[in-house]
């Protein structure tokens, strides 16, 4: 099962990186979102995929009676999803504002903070 999932993770990473390599900000942002989901699936897979038994200890026992799903990766992914979702929302708004302010959705045209024709410092008095 882990092998199938790792192929899926690889596919997600591939699509994410392909989009990030684009020149257009909106495609980069979408790529980041897919990349983030690839990472979430990776955490899920590296926590080992087990039975669909909930890890709840019966009242009369001190330990789990048998193998159960690992709850920790799910907690980690939940944290990561919350964080990456809020970041995605922020970056999406930021990209839209950048498009409004700068007028381009293209990393080559985004040279406001580092102008292309920046003068060199004076060489003497």
């Amino acid at each position: 099962m882990e092998a199938v999932f790792s192929l899926l993770v690889a596919l997600f990473f591939g699509v994410g990186i392909y989009l990030i390599l684009s020149r257009h900000v909106i495609r980069i942002v979408l790529g980041i979102a897919i990349f983030g989901n690839a990472v979430n699936l990776l955490i899920f897979t590296s926590g080992r995929i087990m039975r669909e038994t909930a890890p709840i200890i019966p009242g009369n026992l001190d330990l789990l009676p048998g193998p159960a799903a690992n709850p920790l990766p799910q907690a980690l992914i939940l944290t990561a999803i919350v964080i990456s979702f809020s970041f995605f929302a922020f970056i999406l708004v930021l990209a839209y504002r950048a498009y409004q302010e700068i007028g381009v959705d293209d990393t080559i045209g985004m040279r406001i903070s580092e102008p292309r024709d920046d003068a060199l410092p004076p060489m003497g008095y």
């Binding site: 900000v25 980041i32 920790l72 970056i91």
Partner: protein
Amino acid sequence: MAATDPGALGAVLSGPVASGDWLVIAPVVIAIAAGALLLMLRHHLRWQAAYASGCLLLMLAANAALLVRVLSDGPLVMTMGRWLPPFGISFAADALGASFAVVATFVALICALSSARDIDTTGRRYGFYPFLMLMMAGVNGAFLTGDIFNLYVWFEVFLIASFGLLILGSEPAQIDGATKYGILNLLATALFLIATAYLYGAFGTLNMADIAVKAAGLRGSAPLMTIATLYLLAFGMKAAAFPVNFWLPAAYHTPRLVTAALFGGLLTKIGVYALLRSLVMIFPVERAALSEVIEWVAILTMICGVMGALAQTDVRRMFGFLVISGVGIMLAGLALGSPLGVSGTILYAVHSMLVMSALYLLAGAMREMGGSFLLTELGGIYRKSTFLTAVALLIFLAAAGLPPGSGLWPKVMLAKAAIDGGGWLLAGAILATGFMTSIALGRVFVLAFWRDAQKAGPVDSTIKSVPRLAIYAPLVSLTIPIVVLGIIPEQFIRIAELASAGLIDVTAYVRAVFPAGGS
């Protein structure tokens, strides 16, 4: 999984936590509470700076008490939810984390004090001070946590707060810089998370002390080299190491100067801290295998950073490149890995937090006195203020690594460690970087301070005239520790050596996390 081990029986602490142990989470608790408080008091615009400064003073006191305690009693640990580690999330302060937290909070306090003049009503209404406190919560949490996933969470906390600070003002240049900063930093934290996922898959634990202990037994079977390399890439990107540093010069000169001073002082050092924590403490064998790679990254970061600084006209952009070359010098100690090298890196990081913030605040003072950020237009500051000129000279000497500034001793330690370890190229690069930094900053001094004023009359109507004391006070309070560190460094060197010894020999750290003998 580990949770089903019979040894996990009684995994909960009994008895109350010793009241002194609360000190380890106090800085983070104060910062988060202060952030929430400032959000509620957002309409008290006139008093926000005072509230924030008071809270930062409280945090500084807590951090100082924590450092004193850690230096006398060794690492201090508290585990959340009273679960025994490694099940609960541990906060673990050692000499490294506590001393970085003290310096970072001190720098933030000075920045908060000087923000009173730099942040206008609009900036306050958009929440500069709550963002500042939340960023400090993330920074302190990153320095004090003992759990690697928790470290990721604190990275994200200060990252999102830094977005808020970066775009305060919504100017096109800020939005342009923030887009690059945001996307590349998001990618870096995603890489961090990938490495952590592999780490969890291999170790089944996220507690740093637990990982450091278990790494020896897993070296044959788990892909530790892959994990260490991914951490190097992710934290190197956070620290702005050479091939992955392009977000920094795009963004750091755009925000308000107080924000730039905070970022230049603190954020890259958290990347360096995480590199030390992950590579020196958790994966020392992998670090040794990677040392040649790190050495070249360090050399290229130093040289490219300082070459970038030489080519800039805008002093803020020049200081951004100097931040990068400083990161290269810190990576030199990581490449060497010897106790002297690591303590040199730690001392350099402390120096860099103080000096880089001072440089950005100085850029603000230069604009108020000389009317511009550009070397082509600046001039005549010496005639306007001899005092500012003297302070600027001290800061420049410190940044270039010349006496009586704080940069001298860590550079001496790193150069000596490099020569001891046979890294002649590394030692040469450190010295050459110092030389070129003094050229770059010497040129700023000659053009902006010594040269006659370039334009007559009032220069820029957007520059408010502020009382001189408000300009001098923050600069002087940063310059005093810089000079003290340069003139009487013994105590600081001793703390740095203690911190590096605690990283290289993890026994004390592990014993503090697992008092009962552990796993």
